[in-house]
Amino acid sequence: MRKMNLVIVGGGPAGLAAAKAAYDCGERDILILEREAELGGILNQCIHNGFGLHTFKEELTGPEYAQRYIDQVVERGIEYRVNATVIDVSKDKVVTYVSAVDGLTQIQAKAIILACGCRERPRGGINIAGMRGAGVFSAGTAQKLVNIDGYMPGKECVILGSGDIGLIMARRMTFEGAKVKAVVELMPYSSGLNRNIVQCLNDFDIPLYFSHTVVDIKGKDRVTGVVVAPVDEKLAPIMDKAELIECDTLLLSVGLLPENELAKQGGVELSNVTGGAVVDENMMTNIDGVFECGNVLHVHDLVDFVSAESENAGKCAVAYINGLESCAEKIAINCTNGVRYCVPTQLNRDDNYQPLNFKMRVANVFKKVELAVFADGVKVFGKKRPVVAPGEMESINLTAEQVETLKKAQHIEITLIK
C-alpha cells in the first residue's frame, strides 16, 4: 500500500487552499483527490462575480477565483488526481479511491483533510407533495445545466427558497430569457445575502414571497404549475389561501448539507447543528490526524472564508504530521441565547495561545445586539452589531490574551446580549 503524509479529499476551494498552505509549511508529500474532471469544485459553475475581495482584494468570478488557486497548486507541483472518487476513509487513516486510470487504490495517510464540500437538499428532503413530472431541479443542478452544459431547464419558473443559489439562478434564468414568476421563501427572512436580493430580484422586478411555501406540484409528464400557500407562525401552510402559479419548472434552493458520508465511515463525530464534524481550533476532528475544512465542516457564505479556514487546516495538518501531539482535554464552546453554532466547536486545553478566529451563525434575525464571549461568566470579548441574521455568518477575532483566558476557563459561552 502506498504511504503518504497528507491526503486531501476534494479539489475545490477548500482542498486547494489546504494543499497550498500545507506545501508552504514545508510539506511535500501531498495528494489531492478530486472526483470531477477538473479542479475547482463548485466554483466552476458559479460564473457570477463577487468572489475574492478578501483574499485577492479584487472582485472575481467563481472560475477566476478557482484558477488563482489551481495555478498556485500547479506552480508548486502538488500532486493531484481528477476523476478519482474516494469511497472510504478508515479510522486508521487508509483512504480508498477509484479512478479509471489508477483502478481501486488504497493509501495509508499520516493525516487526512476532508474538504468534500456540501450537497443540495433535494425534493425528498422537504417532502413536497404532488406529481412527479419533469421540471423539478435543485438550483445548483440548473446552474450546472445553464452555465457549463449550455441547456435551459425551462421557460417559466418558480424558485422555492431564497438562499443565494436560488437568487443567483433567478437572475441567471432571466438573463437567458426565462420568466421567473416568483421566489417563495418559507421563513419571514431570506437566508441569502442582501446584495443578491437587490441585484438578482429587485433589479428585474421578481416578486419574493416571504412566509410562503410550495404545497403541491402539478403536471403528469412535465410540471404545469405549483401551488403556493402562506404559512402560519408554526410554518404550517394555510391551505384555504393557496394559489396556483402556472410554470414549467420548479427550482429548489432549500439548503445545503455538508457531505459527511466519508467522515461517518471514518468514525468522525458530527455536530447535529452544522452537520459537519466537531473540531478544535486546529480544525482537527475527534480522530487524530483527520481534519475538516470548508463547506463539509459548515456551510459558508463566502469562498474567501473557506480559503482562510482551509489554509489553517492545511497548516495544522502539517504540524500534526511533524509530531505535534494532540491534546486530550477539550473545552466545549457553548452557544446560547440565539447563537446557533460556532466553529471551532471546542478548544484544546493546551498552552498554545495564538490569536483565533471564530465563525458563527445566529438562529434568527436580531437587531441591536452584542455578540459576546464569556469565560466562567466573565465577558472576554464583545462586538456590537446593528443587525444579525441567519443568512450572514458572523466572525470574531480573539487576541492571544483572550484565547489564554478561554483556554484556562472551565466554561466558555458565546451568546447574544439583546
Binding site: 460564473i47 462575480n49 472582485e59 452544459d149 438573463f175 442582501n194 446584495r195 450572514e392
Partner: protein
C-alpha cells in the same frame, strides 16, 4: 434620505444616502470607498456587472463563462446578453480573452473568465 444595500461585495453594507443635493450626495454606513461610488452611481447612473456563458467549439467543455470587464449601464444588460447568444469561440480560450470588444458602444469589453483547453 434613502436606505440602500451596497452590492459591490458579499458584505452587503447597509447604506444611508442623503441625496437632497445631487451635487453633494452624502453616504454613511459603508466600510469601504466602493460604497460611496456605488451609492452615487445608483442615484445618477446605475451600473451592473453582467456575467454569462457562451458556446465554445472544440473545447473540453461546451460553454465558457464571461463577464463585462467592469460594470456597464443597467439599461444595456439585455442588449449585451443578446449579443452573447450568437458568439461561438474556438478552443483554447484563456482568462481575459476579449469575447466582445466595446459592448453596445459603452466602452467596456466582455472577456472570458475560464480556461478552456482543446478537447
Amino acid at each position: 434620505m434613502r436606505e440602500m444595500i451596497c452590492i459591490n461585495c458579499p458584505m452587503g453594507c447597509r447604506l444611508t444616502v442623503d441625496d437632497s443635493n445631487l451635487q453633494d450626495i452624502k453616504v454613511t454606513g459603508n466600510i469601504c470607498p466602493r460604497g460611496v461610488i456605488y451609492a452615487k452611481n445608483e442615484i445618477t447612473s446605475p451600473k451592473r456587472m453582467v456575467t454569462g456563458s457562451v458556446k465554445v467549439a472544440g473545447g473540453n467543455i461546451a460553454m465558457v463563462s464571461v463577464k463585462t470587464r467592469e460594470a456597464i449601464p443597467k439599461h444595456l444588460i439585455f442588449d449585451s446578453l443578446e449579443l452573447l447568444k450568437d458568439v461561438v469561440l474556438q478552443a483554447p480560450v484563456h482568462i481575459g480573452d476579449v469575447v466582445i470588444a466595446d459592448v453596445c458602444g459603452c466602452g467596456v469589453d466582455i472577456i472570458a473568465t475560464k480556461e478552456i483547453t482543446k478537447a
